[in-house]
């Protein structure tokens, strides 16, 4: 960046951004396809919700269910706020690709507006109008509820719903703007919108349950997660938005042959022998995965802490633990699980691979987060079991030494590496752009994951499964004196 551009005063940049936002909002307010739905959702919908609330009151009062009615009011408040913001999704999906279709994008790209100003301008313009409509709708609903039932939410709850509404809008809009900047037609953008709508439908269902159960303290966690998601989406947008991409793509077509060829190139590293593959593909992919390992390790530590906390909270009665015949149970389970047989080794190995594949699928659709949660579970179970055994009088160290360490010394690092690779795939779009397209970035991360899985994790898991089948039972029996 040149000195001249760096020297641009913030006031000047803000005025350019304001000019863009003003134009976009003016355009929206002159489009009847935006204004009419917005007016309906702002003026008519809250009144409809007031009638719905009144109907609920009348119904539940017949059975003395006032509590139910009070749980419904905040839920309807959230819905009244959410619906107008959904219009923002439509506006945002059209933001870049619509201009491209109407040929008005290129003159805009030719102006001195920076990529950040363009992206933020489009996001702000898509958020402000729907949020104003949401605020009006919420006000209308609250006024109606006050007159109908004399109900007004506690200020904390009102604050929660306002924050949630803003976070929903920012999340959806920033994701939609990213989609709009990456597609070549409004039709394609609308089709891809399901990647925003479906997760938000699930999120809304979860939030609705929380509202119905009046778990308002827990709602803060959801609010925190949605705000985090909004920040992540904005970061993805700022990182990946390049005006270059908007005009470069003229043909919108999934070229599986090119995708396959690029993936194969990344996966093999153009190596011809397994040894060369380890040198040219596995080594570099593993090194690229290393920076994610501290995050995965932190997640495992959290998993262990949660296990300890749960063991304390839901402790088995000590007497019950002491009266059980663990030796018999241990021997039975060894027999049932096929220990000391190749079948047992295969069963443990395939179970671990299944867990990694499930973690991968969930990680891909949740920025890596759910993948880590899946891999944290066994760690939580180990710490839960360790604390529980300690409560029964068995030394925690002896338990770990006998039941976990013999195979865990290989399996836990394998899971750690696998978690890091999954986290990288989930977060690949957050990486600093390096001239590659989003598809290439994703395919490269996917190839790295598969390289690490096949080249590092699976061999380690195989060794761990052998140790778990043949060594761990002996070690466990040894340390416990059986």
């Amino acid at each position: 960046m040149s000195a001249a551009v760096n020297a641009l005063p913030l006031r000047f940049r803000a005025s350019r951004l304001a000019a863009l936002v003003k134009r976009e909002m003016r355009d929206q307010l002159r489009d009847w396809r935006v204004v009419i739905p917005m007016a309906i959702l702002t003026l008519f919908f809250p009144v409809l919700m007031n009638f719905a609330a009144q109907a609920v009151i009348n119904y539940v009062n017949q059975y003395g269910g006032q509590v139910i009615a009070e749980a419904v009011f905040p839920f309807l408040l959230m819905i009244v706020g959410f619906f107008p913001t959904s219009v923002g999704l439509v506006i945002a999906l059209e933001s870049f690709v619509g201009e491209k279709e109407r040929y008005s994008l290129e003159p805009l790209l030719a102006t001195p507006l920076s990529d950040v100003e363009l992206f933020l301008g489009k996001v702000l313009a898509s958020v402000i109008t729907p949020l104003c409509a949401a605020a009006l709708g919420i006000t209308a609903y609250l006024a109606g509820m006050f007159f109908i039932a004399g109900w007004f939410p506690p200020l904390a709850l009102l604050g929660q719903i306002i924050i949630l509404t803003v976070a929903h809008a920012v999340c959806m809009v920033s994701a939609a703007v990213v989609i709009s900047a990456q597609t070549n037609s409004v039709r394609a953008a609308n089709l891809l919108a399901s990647f925003v709508i479906v997760p938000f439908a699930l999120l809304m269902q979860g939030e609705s349950m929380i509202m119905f159960y009046r778990m308002y303290n827990e709602l803060w966690w959801v609010i925190g997660a949605v705000i985090l998601l909004a920040v992540i989406f904005i970061r993805i947008g700022l990182r990946q938005f390049r005006r270059e991409e908007l005009l470069s793509r003229e043909v919108e077509e999934l070229r599986f042959d090119r995708m396959g060829s690029y993936f194969w190139h990344c996966f093999t590293g153009d190596a011809r022998t397994p040894l060369a593959w380890y040198r040219r593909a596995v080594g570099p992919a593993f090194r690229r995965t290393l920076p994610a390992i501290p995050w995965t390790a932190a997640a495992f530590v959290i998993g262990a802490v949660i296990g300890v906390v749960l063991a304390e909270r839901f402790a088995f009665p000590v007497a019950m633990l002491q009266t059980r015949d663990y030796k018999q149970e241990f021997l039975k389970s060894l027999e049932a699980l096929g220990f000391f047989t190749p079948g047992g080794t295969w069963m443990i190995f395939s179970h671990n691979v299944q867990a990694i594949l499930i973690a991968f699928v969930l990680g891909v659709i949740s920025l890596g987060i759910m993948g880590l949660v899946i891999l944290m579970l066994p760690i939580g179970v180990i710490s839960f079991a360790t604390v529980t055994m300690a409560r029964s009088g068995t030394s925690a160290w002896l338990f770990l030494l006998g039941f976990v360490v013999p195979h865990g010394i290989v399996e836990i690092p394998a899971m750690l590496i696998s978690g890091a690779a999954i986290l990288r795939v989930g977060n690949c779009l957050l990486a600093k752009p390096d001239g590659r397209s989003l598809g290439q970035i994703w395919l490269k991360a996917l190839a790295d994951w598969l390289i690490v899985l096949l080249g590092v994790v699976l061999p380690m898991l195989l060794v761990a499964s052998i140790l778990e089948t043949w060594v761990t039972p002996l070690a466990a029996a040894g340390v416990l004196g059986w």
């Binding site: 040149s2 551009v5 863009l20 003016r26 489009d31 109407r102 008005s104 001195p112």
Partner: protein, 314 residues
């Protein structure tokens, strides 16, 4: 003011611009010609700081298109092939918006818009809706937009394609006055007569590569060889027989006229006329047949191995 060196742009497996180098000086108009898909639009997009070259580079208005793109965009006025106006805006709002993006104060935005609209004879109210503009009005408004910030460099894609002859003349006059004021102008066009009339130099590209560059006269000489002359007599005559021997190459003959290519017309033409008159021929006219730029263009863009274009148009 525009210096491109080895400018290259790939779209996946297609090379749109391949090592293009060109230079346009201050106060100069360069016409960029080439068939559809030759890479003209991609070239202007790279010079405008909209697309990033894969290789090579360029300096526009003193700024590097790779590292100083915002400065490049601030210094360049771009007229895109598709005007893409915002149909739900009024004329005044539209120009005010773009003026604001270029950092012009409100009063200056109004003055610039009014003056440019007057210069381009765009006689509409600033409250007029853009959706109601004709194609020619849209083109002129797009040009006003490109000129709002008094750019040092203009990149114009087909600036007169939608205009009637009178409006096109107005636009050409404006471009000439801007050239006189020191503005550097690159015009992409398929209108060859306009290119010849307007441009100081012409560059022809094909498949992203520069294949010919120079003034119209230089290109004619380079592409079509020495000048062609036509000598006409008052009536059919045998006086034309063998009259070119040792002086020029004949390329066509009728009983009353002859066409020939002369490498050295200053010495050949008087001698040819003398020979004809000696043989009793009555010379009515001797004129240079200027080959059209279209012939030059077709010759330049003809694929290697393909037959050369007919000289019928000469």
């Amino acid at each position: 003011m525009i210096e491109a060196n080895g400018l290259t742009k790939h779209y996946e497996r297609v090379t749109a611009v391949d090592g293009l180098s060109l230079r346009v000086g201050r106060g100069e108009i360069l016409a960029l010609l080439g068939p559809n898909g030759a890479g003209k639009t991609t070239t202007t997009r790279m010079l405008a700081g909209i697309l990033r070259p894969n290789a090579g580079g360029a300096r526009v208005a003193g700024f590097d298109v790779l590292t100083e793109t915002e400065n490049v965009r601030a210094a360049v006025g771009v007229l895109t092939e598709q005007h893409g106006l915002y149909s739900r805006m009024r004329c005044g709002e539209y120009l005010d918006f773009f003026g604001a993006l270029y950092g012009l104060p409100p009063a200056e935005r109004r003055d610039r818009a009014r003056n440019l609209m007057r210069d381009l004879r765009l006689e509409v109210d600033s409250d007029a809706w853009l959706a109601e503009f004709s194609k020619g009005m849209r083109q002129r408004l797009a040009l006003v937009r490109a000129l709002m910030h008094s750019p040092k460099v203009l990149l114009l894609d087909e600036p007169t394609s939608a205009l009637d002859p009178e409006s096109a003349r107005v636009v050409r006059d404006l471009l000439r006055s801007m050239r006189a004021a020191g503005c550097t102008i690159l015009v992409c066009t398929h209108n060859l007569s306009e290119a010849e009339e307007l441009a100081d130099r012409i560059a022809i590209i094909r498949r992203g590569r520069l294949i010919a560059e120079g003034t119209a006269a230089e290109l004619r000489m380079r592409m079509l060889g020495p000048a062609v002359f036509e000598l006409r007599l008052a009536e059919d005559s045998e006086a034309l027989a063998s009259v070119l021997d040792g002086l020029a190459e004949g390329i066509g003959r009728t009983p009353a006229s002859i066409r020939y290519r002369a490498a050295d017309p200053l010495s050949a033409n008087p001698e040819i006329v003398r020979r004809v008159m000696e043989r009793g021929g009555k010379v009515v006219e001797l004129r240079e047949v200027t080959p059209s730029l279209e012939s030059v263009y077709l010759q330049a863009v003809a694929e290697e191995g393909a037959p050369a274009p007919s000289r019928e148009g000469i």
